[in-house]
């Protein structure tokens, strides 16, 4: 029997690593432990690192992503400026936790890591380097958050081990044009065809989708059938089907429950899975499935299936978070297709816009949350395998320098963007197309997207840190049908399309930064895991059910067996604790 048992393989791995505890492989091909100084100067007289002085480092991000090619042009430029060339690797089909577990078990850690929801595990195993001493050395890093915000990153031992890099506006000036969160999305051609109606409820939304499919049936090629709606249920991303009841009731994305603030002094945690709204939402889904509006394979599709389905432009509507699908569609939607006689999907109006639906018309919604969300549960970290942590932190600081930041997100001046007489950066149509091209992304663009970065206005006071937030670029970058749609609704940004309530965030928000790190050590954690499994199995089943009422009741019974009350009690305790901390710091409410 050649097949060795899984556990034996694992045991052997452990035995070997225990015997050879001194091995320290981390893929950094350097023998020198300290950073070399820049040794030459470029044409402008700036110090640059020579090829020999550049160190290679590795970073793993527990997220799906695409590796860039070696010799990437901007990567090389950044390496010359910072002395570090960072090789980024991503998840390849597995879940974040599994990948992090496998990395820990193998003992081969990268120099930098974003562990996603495996971050705490890395910390528990003493595999991360504390940021504290380096924060004072590198003002660029320190500047990312206020002292109070940094405190939220502190682990139980009082130290900071990672920093979230997203959603952070420089000097707090909000220039956001996008909506990175969740929404019911709809293709602009559907809205256009219906004369840009007001859409406030699920019923109106599905009526629009169904009517459009009824009218056109297929894509312009006359063969590919249109699909009104799909829902992703692969792995933890089944939230696309699972959590809309929370938003439909007008609550923000606390992720694991609703926090009712009818009495602001005493917030109450409410389970959104069992509300009347939840039942109404799933009943609607069930009816639409019976009508054939949902993709019949939605419950068995993998994330890759989902993206490739969306890339064809045939799906009119979906509920998801922007970052989870939109970036993958930019390339395919900007391509000239033979099936469209050389036309493009974005020109056809396949771009998605978000809608702020609620269960009844006229309610306030909070699909979009204004202001920066602080997610302290994960972020970029330096591992103990990194031979020179100081250099790693220096690199993280260097990539926040304005010139490097511009290289990462704007590109090379003259090649990827031009500077107008007014000092504003802009791109030509050709440059914009190139930035959507997958080959160009691999060979030219290097954004180090999981390293520290800024949103908002850059240090010159004029240009946006990111092109997508530069007002002129944002509008120029919109395909015509999308621009028309914005115009028709009088929306300046994606967030305007949703029309969320502009309110201050509560101190416990977002609560998912707590639930993401629940482990099996507590009753609430066990309940949380069981609830996830029951929902994962039952929710698609309910949508596809021929007998909604009885299946809904069976689901509720199975759900109740998981003891959700244990989980809710712990969630309530966390809300109270966070509120208390905020009050101690002077929060009034």
């Amino acid at each position: 029997m050649k097949k060795k048992l899984f556990a034996v393989v694992m045991a052997s791995m452990m035995a070997v690593s225990a015997l050879a505890a001194c091995t320290d492989k981390n893929g950094t091909d350097t023998t020198a432990g300290t950073a070399a100084a820049p040794d030459t100067t470029n044409a402008e007289g700036e110090a640059v690192y020579s090829q020999e002085a550049i160190l290679d480092m590795k970073m793993f991000a527990a997220m799906a992503g695409t590796e860039i090619n070696s010799g990437n042009k901007i990567q090389e430029l950044i390496a010359e400026k910072t002395g570090v060339r960072l090789k980024e690797t991503w998840l390849t089909g597995q879940q974040a936790g599994e990948a992090i577990g496998a990395i820990i078990a193998s003992g081969e850690l990268p120099d930098l890591i974003d562990g996603g929801d495996g971050s705490v595990t890395l910390w528990e195993n003493d595999l991360l380097v504390a940021w504290d001493p380096y924060l004072d050395m590198y003002p660029n890093l320190k500047e990312m958050y206020t002292d109070e915000e940094w405190d939220k990153f502190r682990m139980e031992d009082g130290h900071i081990y990672w920093a979230n890099v997203f959603g952070n506006h420089y000097k707090g000036i909000d220039t956001s044009t996008g909506h990175n969160g969740e929404a019911f999305w709809i293709q602009v051609r559907v809205l256009e065809d219906a004369g840009y109606p007001t859409v406030e409820t699920l019923d109106q939304y599905f009526e629009l989708l169904d009517n459009y499919v009824e009218k056109y049936k297929t894509m312009p090629d006359g063969e590919t059938p249109l699909i009104a709606y799909t829902a992703l249920t692969d792995g933890w991303k089944y939230f696309c089907l699972e959590n809309p009841p929370m938003f439909l009731d007008g609550y923000p994305n606390d992720g694991c429950c609703i926090v009712n603030v009818d009495d602001p002094a005493n917030p109450v945690v409410v389970d959104y899975n069992t509300t009347d709204t939840a039942k109404m939402y799933f009943k609607k889904m069930n009816e639409e499935y019976a009508k054939g509006a949902l993709d019949p394979d939605f419950a068995t599709q993998s994330y890759d299936d989902y993206i490739s389905m969306l890339s064809t432009g045939r799906v009119l509507g979906l509920c998801d978070q922007y970052w989870d699908f939109a970036y993958s569609l930019m390339g395919p939607f900007a391509q000239n297709l033979d099936s469209l006689d050389g036309g493009r999907l974005d020109a056809l109006g396949c771009d998605y816009v978000p809608l702020g639906l609620t269960i009844e018309a006229g309610m306030d919604n909070q699909w979009h949350s204004y202001g920066d969300e602080l997610n302290q549960s994960s972020g970029v970290a330096v591992t103990t395998s990194c031979p020179d942590p100081n250099l790693a932190f220096k690199f993280l600081s260097d990539v926040l320098e304005q010139d490097v930041h511009d290289l990462r997100f704007w590109g090379i001046e003259g090649e990827d963007y031009l500077v107008g007489d007014d000092g504003l950066y802009y791109r030509t149509e050709e440059m914009r197309q190139l930035w959507k091209d997958d080959d160009y992304k691999a060979n030219h663009i290097c954004s180090y997207s999981y390293c520290p970065q800024w949103l908002g206005i850059s240090r010159d006071g004029k240009n946006a840190m990111m092109p997508s937030e530069q007002t002129s670029e944002f509008y120029a970058g919109l395909a015509e049908p999308l621009a028309n749609c914005f115009k028709a609704y009088g929306a300046a940004t994606y967030a305007d399309m949703i029309g969320s309530l502009e309110c201050d965030q509560y101190p416990w928000y977002p609560l998912w930064s707590w639930s993401n790190n629940l482990s099996n050590d507590t009753d609430g954690g066990i309940a949380w895991q069981k609830m996830g499994e029951v929902k994962h199995e039952w929710l698609p089943k309910i949508v596809m059910s021929n007998n909604f009422e009885s299946d809904w009741n069976s689901y509720l019974a199975a759900y109740a067996e998981c003891k959700p009350e244990d989980f809710l009690a712990e969630a309530q305790a966390e809300v109270d604790a966070r509120l208390q901390t905020a009050r101690d710091n002077g929060y009034e409410g």
């Binding site: 060795k4 034996v8 045991a11 035995a15 599994e98 820990i104 249920t233 692969d234 068995t300 994962h536």
Partner: protein, 321 residues
């Protein structure tokens, strides 16, 4: 050459009793060196790692290692057997493993016999080559093919709806009763050709005189298959069956992991997936529990093999030891 002849010859030698003397050692030293390499391989890669089993009796933490972790006795095993999910994955693994074993053995034998009956050499070679090629595909590719074929717009549903057997596409991969058959069928498709090779080899070594005399006695084609071919390869069948019984709990990992989804998770998860979930998944990282599950798997496999072997001994069939 069939396995039966080698093993019977070996038996004869040991019963003759070759004495282990210096002279004998000198005569056979090359053979002994070659054999020793395999023994070392087995010890290093199959026996030394068993030391890691100690983790199953500890509350192993990566931070403290084998030597610093606390011993907890049988706590991990207690947790396993009180976890309803573990009992569920045992059922899934055992049922899928047993189904795969039974069906793959039967189809491989049948396929080998049928292939043997083809008189056209070119045709025979062609069929054999094509049939074992899927063995070299990775499970990822095979699963891609399966999920495309079984999707609502896949060829199976197209045919079923076209011929009016179904009025709307059936979601095969979302159906619990369909999951095990899909797993078994996929295994058969991928491995039948490969598994048949060894039976074909056994059939080739059957003495042609047996067939001749059967013909003279008036046996037809099917009678020759039944009375000559099958009994002649019986020892091979028994040995392979015994060896594969130990693999019943290795019902698979990739196939179930890739084809599984929320709807069918209660029938799709195997012990290996459970171990992955508990031991490797960053949120739990409980190597101890994973090791305990592994030990359980080994113990059951051992019982199955020994039991199968004893049964074979009783019925007077060929056996492993």
């Amino acid at each position: 050459m069939s396995l039966s002849s080698t093993s019977s010859r070996r038996k004869k030698k040991t019963s003759n009793g070759v004495e282990f003397t210096a002279k004998e050692f000198k005569r056979q030293w090359i053979l002994i060196v070659i054999a020793a390499l395999y023994v070392i391989y087995g010890v290093v890669f199959n026996y030394l790692p068993l030391a890691g089993w100690i983790m199953a009796f500890q509350n192993y933490k990566y931070k403290t290692g084998v030597f610093g972790s606390k011993f907890v006795g049988l706590d991990k095993f207690k947790f396993l057997f009180s976890d309803a999910k573990f009992l569920q994955v045992i059922r899934n693994t055992f049922c899928m493993g047993a189904l795969i074993l039974i069906f793959s053995t039967i189809t491989a034998i049948a396929f080998a016999i049928l292939l043997n009956e083809i008189k056209n050499i070119m045709g025979k070679k062609l069929v054999q080559t094509i049939s074992y090629l899927p063995h070299f595909l990775s499970w990822i590719v095979v699963c891609g093919i399966v999920s495309d074929t079984l999707s609502s717009t896949g060829i199976i549903n197209e045919l079923l709806t076209k011929f009016g057997i179904l009025d709307k596409p059936f979601l095969f991969l979302g159906s619990k009763p369909a999951f095990w058959p899909i797993v078994v069928f996929t295994n058969l498709w991928k491995e039948t050709g490969w598994n048949a090779i060894i039976y074909l080899a056994a059939i080739t070594s059957i003495d042609p005189a047996l067939y001749e005399s059967a013909s003279i006695d008036g046996a037809g084609r099917f009678q020759k298959m039944w009375y000559v071919t099958l009994p002649s390869i019986r020892p091979t069948i028994m040995i392979l069956l015994l060896m594969n019984i130990g693999n019943v709990l290795n019902a698979g990992f990739e196939l179930q992991y890739i084809l599984g989804n929320g709807l069918v998770q209660s029938v799709s998860r195997t012990i290996d997936i459970y171990v992955l979930d508990w031991a490797i998944n960053g949120r739990n990282m409980d190597f101890s529990l994973g090791t305990a599950a592994g030990i359980f798997k080994t113990a059951v496999s051992l019982v199955l093999i020994v039991g199968g072997n004893m049964l074979a001994k009783k019925t007077g069939d060929e056996r492993l030891f």
